[in-house]
């Protein structure tokens, strides 16, 4: 093990939070292990476009993006960086790994664990979302940055999230065809939230510039969209029908990117001992931490996996968590610097609360979702099946009971795509608030792993 000459610190995730944490630890003379499920550092938002594509997109020219990647480059030889490595379980102060899909026999033991596992899209399913040609907003961006492809020639960006506008702008920049934005939140709510968003002035400025750029390009943006359904032909996306205010509308398209903000990846945190609590701002269950990211003995959380905040907040949170870790190891830390980092991080977090108001989770829509709409993509379980079972379990607050009886959320993605929606549908069917229910429990392996035959025959 590479960290034999000091305390073993393992960081999971090489986005801004993981890179920020690693930088602090290296400056303190330590050599952390940095585990990255991706092939290259940067995480999702700061994902480096594949250099062989020769693609030049604006996000990769932004100062903060360049700085984070420069920080990593300076660190690379001073840490034990492990790309294409999945942590599939955490148990007894050891992380269990799969390298390029193959399970590693022995666990990687650690003294301290910093989880910077990030987030994926938060999805509110709509009729037709299982048609081919429907992708998450993040997926539409990854397919562009990693593969140099668009998800279609006439793409509808649907949901409510700053990423709706960012992804649309990136598609236009890369020369994709026609782009339309359908936002479920009325424009008035954005104006009302702007003061809060301005707690981090750069967030508001970037947003306003993005919107102005899209308008200048003549992109159609419809706000206050409701009742959207994706129409298909031969299993493929053919168009969308929706209401704009009270006006019914239909658009032809061959692809839809869908997302309502971010959902924290909390599975490893919970396996490592963190407790989750419902967060009414971000409409999801998030791990409890103290102000510096401590979640349990020897466990620190940072970035979007702990609290939705975006890249700048994530890096700062990663630095704060690493300083907390150093302090707990009895190392001296610069307390004034810690306070400065916290203050900057908190401004981004306050701004993010404004964004959560400006781009709202469509809670009211779940009760109206047709019974036949599929909620669970893996197991093909409908909203109607979840409603029926939820009603029959009146008084049972555990969504895992609904899961056991319907198989909703029991598939290979472990409820990452449908879990929050399933809770909303179940709660609405019983006229309860989502937070009256408990959330899906994680199960190792947190993602499917390949177990080679010799290992199976030994069992």
């Amino acid at each position: 093990m590479s960290h034999m000459d000091g305390p073993g610190i393992v960081i999971v995730g090489a986005g801004p939070a993981g890179i920020g944490a690693a930088d602090v630890l290296v400056r303190a003379g330590l050599r952390p292990v940095l585990i990255d499920e991706g092939r290259r550092p940067g995480g999702q938002g700061y994902r480096k476009s594949d250099p062989t594509l020769g693609l030049s997109l604006g996000y990769a020219r932004a100062a903060n993006y360049k700085r984070i990647h420069a920080v990593f480059t300076a660190l690379e030889t001073q840490i034990d960086y492990r790309p294409e490595t999945l942590v599939w379980s955490v148990d007894g102060r050891a992380a269990y790994l799969a390298e390029r899909g193959a399970v590693v026999d022995a666990g990687l033991s650690y003294d301290r664990l910093i989880l910077a596992t990030g987030a994926t899209d938060k999805i509110a399913p709509v009729p037709g979302w299982t048609l081919t040609g429907v992708y998450t907003l993040g997926g539409a961006q990854v397919i562009l940055k990693d593969q140099g492809c668009s998800i279609g020639r006439k793409v509808v960006f649907y949901g409510s999230s700053p990423l709706l506008y960012l992804a649309a702008a990136q598609y236009i920049e890369a020369g994709a065809g026609k782009v339309t934005i359908l936002d479920t939140t009325p424009f008035a709510r954005k104006a009302a939230a702007s003061l809060k968003i301005a707690r981090a002035p750069s967030v508001l400025c970037n947003g306003v510039a993005l919107l102005a750029g899209l308008k200048a390009r003549g992109v159609t943006i419809v706000s206050g969209v409701s009742g959207l359904r994706i129409d298909g032909e031969d299993g493929r996306v053919a168009g969308v029908s929706f209401q704009a205010g009270r006006r019914p509308m239909r658009l032809d398209c061959d692809a839809v990117a869908i997302g309502h903000g971010l959902r924290a990846e909390t599975q490893l945190a919970e396996l490592a001992g963190a407790e989750l609590a419902y967060d009414a701002t971000f409409d999801q269950w998030l791990p409890r931490t103290d102000a510096d990211g401590r979640a349990a003995d020897g466990l620190y959380l940072a970035g979007d996996g702990a609290r939705i905040g975006g890249a700048a907040a994530a890096e700062l949170a990663g630095r704060v968590a690493a300083m907390a870790c150093l302090a707990d190891l009895g190392r001296s830390i610069d307390k004034a610097e810690l306070i400065r980092l916290r203050t900057r991080r908190d401004a981004y977090h306050a701004s993010q609360e404004g964004l959560a108001q400006a781009f709202a989770w469509p809670r009211h829509a779940f009760a109206d979702l047709p019974d036949e709409t599929v909620l669970c993509r893996c197991e093909n379980v409908t909203a109607g099946a979840v409603r029926a079972v939820a009603r029959s379990l009146e008084g049972v607050s555990d969504i895992n009971r609904v899961k056991a009886l319907t198989r909703c959320g029991m598939g290979r993605c472990q409820a990452r795509m449908c879990g929050l929606a399933a809770v909303e549908v179940a709660a609405a069917a019983r006229q309860e608030a989502a937070e009256a229910l408990t959330y899906y429990r994680p199960q190792p392996p947190v993602k499917p792993i390949f177990i080679p035959e010799p290992a199976l025959s030994e069992v």
Binding site: T52, G138, V142, I151, G152, D234, N380
Partner: protein, 115 residues
């Protein structure tokens, strides 16, 4: 026909390349049909730039072509020769790779991959 006759249909691909990789061509097969891609392409890109879907769903028999693109939703499973099931979005295409929509382990789903 280079690709797409019966199984994948003659319909065009779902993804569209906006730029060309400066990497060598690779040839692979998808359900026995030869296809061309660029080194560095994910299977998701290599296949769905040419075909409309990656697999059919186990329960409803409808086509699927991936969803999250980042290894989370597990919607884009395909099989590669030898019996491995992989995510098309996080697996890179290789010269000579034989990819199938269906694996050897599911009863009633056909057995197109040699074990």
């Amino acid at each position: 026909m280079e690709h797409g006759t019966d199984k994948m249909g003659t319909s065009p691909g779902q993804l569209h390349r906006l730029c060309r990789r400066r990497t060598p061509d690779v040839t692979f097969s998808f359900d026995g049909v030869a296809m061309h891609a660029q080194e560095g392409d994910s299977l998701l890109c290599a296949i769905t730039t040419l075909a409309s879907h990656l697999r059919v769903h186990e329960f409803d028999g409808r086509p699927r072509a991936g969803f999250c693109g980042m290894g989370v939703c597990q919607d884009c499973w395909v099989w590669i020769e030898g019996g491995h099931r992989v995510r098309a979005c996080t697996t890179q295409v290789r010269e000579g790779l034989r990819v199938t929509t269906r694996g050897p382990l599911l009863p009633g789903m056909g057995a197109e991959t040699s074990a």
